[in-house]
């Protein structure tokens, strides 16, 4: 009987873990996506130093978040997004500004895909 209790507790822990991970992932990715909008707006308004500051904060936030995401998300997907995230401040400071909006857009799409990746939808399950 004790074993059955352990099994039920394990299953409950897994369920709680699933809910917590999905909720935390959604909250963090919403925040990161809004930062991409903010840096894009600043860039379009010509506030390059402001956009650089947001881009650097965005990169730092992403690195901090993925420390936990790496527990349950495939590392290669996180690594792909990281490549795009870390390139944003560099493009603003040293690269071609015309590439910035495209890179921000790409980064946002990758974040949105990541947000959908762990949702238990029929499409993802199958």
């Amino acid at each position: 009987m004790k074993r059955v209790v352990v099994a039920i507790v394990l299953l409950l822990l897994v369920c709680v873990g699933c809910v917590v991970s999905i909720t935390a992932q959604r909250a963090v990715l919403d925040d990161l996506t809004s930062q991409t909008h903010a840096m894009e707006t600043l860039f379009k308004n010509g506030d390059i130093p402001g956009a650089v500051a947001v881009a650097e904060a965005f990169a730092a936030d992403y690195t901090h978040s993925t420390r936990y995401f790496a527990l349950f998300l495939p590392h290669n997907i996180l690594s792909d997004i990281e490549k795009s995230v870390v390139s944003l401040p560099a493009i603003l400071e040293h690269g071609e500004h015309k590439d910035f909006v495209a890179e921000v857009y790409r980064c946002r799409l990758l974040l949105q895909n990541l947000q959908k990746l762990e949702l238990p939808t029929l499409q993802n399950i199958l």
Partner: protein
Amino acid sequence: MAITAIRTAIIYIFLIAALRITGKRQLGELQPIELVVTLLISDLASVPMQESGAPLLSGLIPIAVLVSLELILSALMMKSNTLSTIISGNPIVVIQNGKLSQKALRKLRLTVEDLMETLRQQDVFDLREVQYAIAETNGKISVFKVKKPPQTSAAVPVVNDGKLVQWGMEMTGVTEQWISTTLQKHGCPLSEALLLTADDQHHAYLIRKGENKT
């Protein structure tokens, strides 16, 4: 490299805990579903060990879920005979009082040769020595022998499912002529013989196809 070593150690400890929770049943006593779960667990554990790019939890969570479901299912099977029958099936009598149940063999998808081989591994060389042979739910065959004086020679198949068994013929020294005469004596053509056994003294034992449909 250090990461792989540490991950392996973590998975090893987790596996010990998981197997400890599932209980002390030995491999030979596993039901088919338990064997499949054990193989699945070993496969799942190897993925995060080999691929450091995969999250450790992607291996540990499926193992935890499988072990939990396995435990809950086995607890439910203990409570419900119906569920136990659905999941594990029932033992099936394949030989009763020396008579072979061909219906049971078909149900088990077992050939006469498979059955004879299993019986020989249990020191039974003649179907008539068997009071009961029961195919257990874990795939083993339990045999209860008839109490009678020990035989001096073994009865081995010389015809199996309408075909001559060369090794049986060589072992007992019977010829095609003897088989043909014996079958004629019983009014049974070769194609209708499910099993014909013979021993060194050329004592025959015949089971026709469709006979003893119990």
